[in-house]
Symmetry: C2
Amino acid sequence: MRKLTVKERVVEAALDLFQEKGYHGVSVEELVEHAETSKGGFYHHFKSKDDLLYEIHDIFISYVLNETKRASEQYDSAIDQLDALMRTFMNVFNIYQRHITVFYNESVYLLPNHEEAITKKRTAYRKLLEQILINGQRQQVFRQELSITITAMLIIGTVNWTYKWYKQDGELTMQDITTYFNDVILRGVMTEAGYREAATKQYLL
Amino acid sequence: MRKLTVKERVVEAALDLFQEKGYHGVSVEELVEHAETSKGGFYHHFKSKDDLLYEIHDIFISYVLNETKRASEQYDSAIDQLDALMRTFMNVFNIYQRHITVFYNESVYLLPNHEEAITKKRTAYRKLLEQILINGQRQQVFRQELSITITAMLIIGTVNWTYKWYKQDGELTMQDITTYFNDVILRGVMTEAGYREAATKQYLL
DNA sequence: CCACACAGACCGACTAGTCGGTTCAAATTG
DNA sequence: CAATTTGAACCGACTAGTCGGTCTGTGTGG
């Protein structure tokens, strides 16, 4: 385990403190104390307190976006793609839950200054999911009468909300949760043909 | 339309401003200006700025809790109950979307001071939903292998997340959205017997 | 005249960000 | 290889401003 840089220590401290007390509940003073650095050190690496919040967001959203793209490109079947997307997102919880929590709690304060950069990546992610749903309709495995937009929102809502209640040391693992989610969502969106494919591939309980 | 009281004007102003700029993005100064009152007026009605945030939350959660209880008590069938719960929650969006937005965005800052009061009502709501799912399993209309906890979280996540993207003046009405949500979720959780009941009752697309 | 609703000047605590200064390791030079 | 230079990393006292909350005063309806 290599020694952490100051910048990394600051991010670590921020994740712990922001998650607990919120962005506005933690002063830069308190932050640098936990990170075992100083005000000077902090402002050497970050333009502002706001800038730190943005970086935390970007670390996480970039990772999710890349991983999801990579994962879904490995498959042709929309059912496989949807499963991959879900698993990818749920996997990053184990690494990035603190980032996600901080991001969703504080995004109101972040938006005015970094709106463009944020919206871009979030839209890209939504499009990725919507494309999978469209693929599924083309492949006749997802029902034609589905609204792409609303279905996408249902899925995003389901996975995103997990940050509000998932506990890493709880009795449910991310594996379990994803399996359940996939089961309910797939059954909810699939056609008969899709059902047969998913059953064969053991996606259902 | 009767004249609004100072207290009501403050709450109205808070909902508009907090939704846009967040709780910490709005000073009491700015708030009372928008509400066309003064600091004295504000502190005559509220113990603190924090207290206002709590009231906003309580107005909304109390309403949802009562309405949901009332709605689900009207039915014996778990399918009807789940539909009623969904419709109730989605309906309050048209009245309380601003409350909900403020509440979820700022709940981190609210918790330390009002933890007990908040947790109580939120837990009550979750229990209500879980009980409906259990009823459904007893009635053999929801699948036995469902995890009550995870399914409840999927549903709560789906409906709660709506505050992030639903626009009152958008092309989708809350009616449309709820119908889609119900369709996907019901298909996801039901047994064959449940499917026949729901189809008869026109809950599916 | 008194209780209540409200006004707004004021206070004190707190905090984001600055800035002159220090350290130290690596690059440059003679 | 020592002597010297350089500059990035880091420090922390300080500032300028903000903002939640208080307090005294004032008008008003009963």
